[in-house]
Assembly symmetry: C2
Homo-oligomer: 260 residues x 2
Amino acid sequence: MQKKIPVILVTNDDGITAPGIRALVEAVRGLGRVVVVAPDSPQSGMGHAITIGAPLRLDKVNVFDGIESWQCSGTPADCVKLARDKILHEKPDICVSGINHGANHSINVIYSGTMSAAMEAAIEGIPSIGFSSLDYKFDADFSIAAQVATDLTKRMLSTPLPEHILLNVNIPVVTADTYKGMKICRQAYAKWDEQFDHRKDPRGRDYYWMVGKFVNRDTGTGTDVEALKDGYASVVPVTIDFTDRKTKEWLEREWDLPSR
Amino acid sequence: MQKKIPVILVTNDDGITAPGIRALVEAVRGLGRVVVVAPDSPQSGMGHAITIGAPLRLDKVNVFDGIESWQCSGTPADCVKLARDKILHEKPDICVSGINHGANHSINVIYSGTMSAAMEAAIEGIPSIGFSSLDYKFDADFSIAAQVATDLTKRMLSTPLPEHILLNVNIPVVTADTYKGMKICRQAYAKWDEQFDHRKDPRGRDYYWMVGKFVNRDTGTGTDVEALKDGYASVVPVTIDFTDRKTKEWLEREWDLPSR
């Protein structure tokens, strides 16, 4: 019996015309039937937003040579939901998201639209990986990132991760000469420390722009931030079960609450 | 030396005029200096969205008797960030979010704007709790939920949880007679199974509404969904570290990748 050609769903949060998703499509093109369903406009910082109070548009577009592609007016999570229900009519064999223009390591995983698409797939039981390059520029060089994407997509198709676990993969700004390989990491406690730039509009009303600087407050070892600094691509296995089991015991003890 | 009066930041995702946040304000009013910073319009399903490509508005409003209140044009996570930087100028002693009109148990924690505000506070190292009632109606009876909120806010102020851990609290539709108390639970693998209702607009273009039904696929014990069904309020300790440590070992073994 011939093996079924794997179905590969590609999405992102920078929008379907971003160079990063083009690099990802090329990276996985040879590995199966590729279908792209991606936002029609940039959705960075959308976290795991979904569209429940408004209808969605979904239009077939011709963006990638010989690849079925759709643009959607919704969020990255919406794209994955719509792709499954209205385009693929079944679960794809893998969902890959990205390649994001900009880092999604450490605490950034929580805010990331790229990762929310991959997480949405993991919720559905679809093997999935989010890819982000630390190079946020529009014309970033995605060649090493694409190489990592091809490698990990192959591994995931041949030996899928335990169900409902996804990968958060970040790629440093490196060349073939300076790239050191991949490392399995844990999520660092490192984050943007935000402040707001206060301005007055032409009518005298206040408004605020979010600004910030990235700070690593994690003093432990084995983090994604550390690995990236040393020239490695970071691979963090991510769960969709946010329960902190240790604190369940703490609550029984300290607050005298009963466990279920 | 007199003890400092605790500062209690209240926010939500249904918007500052929702009855749920009014119930929460009343529930914590006697426990410290209450400051409300909440979205100026409903933000349900916003996940952990933040506003990075647009400026934010923040306006002082008079909504609650004798309580300093601000409405913000951003997401629930934006509200917490702005509150700290521009209103409180320091960390509050606790952040409480809700009371949400509708459940945020199980996988819903990932999509929840209510929980994203509480999670944002936990990221900053602020003790925080998200409260949600399973009664999604506008005129829901929040009396038991408010009682739970008072109780848990007191506990958190006197004995805060380990840093960066927050609580996801859901309250069933109960009366004083049928309410059974609180149970510490784990997050169930239970979720909305979504489909899309396909329609044509007056110009003949396709559009889609998300619809779905809630399904509990979790066969284990100790879940929030189970506890709620039995009339208990569910209390789930939630982490902001999504790393799945078990799968780190799996990756070393099965994919032969090195750990950092």
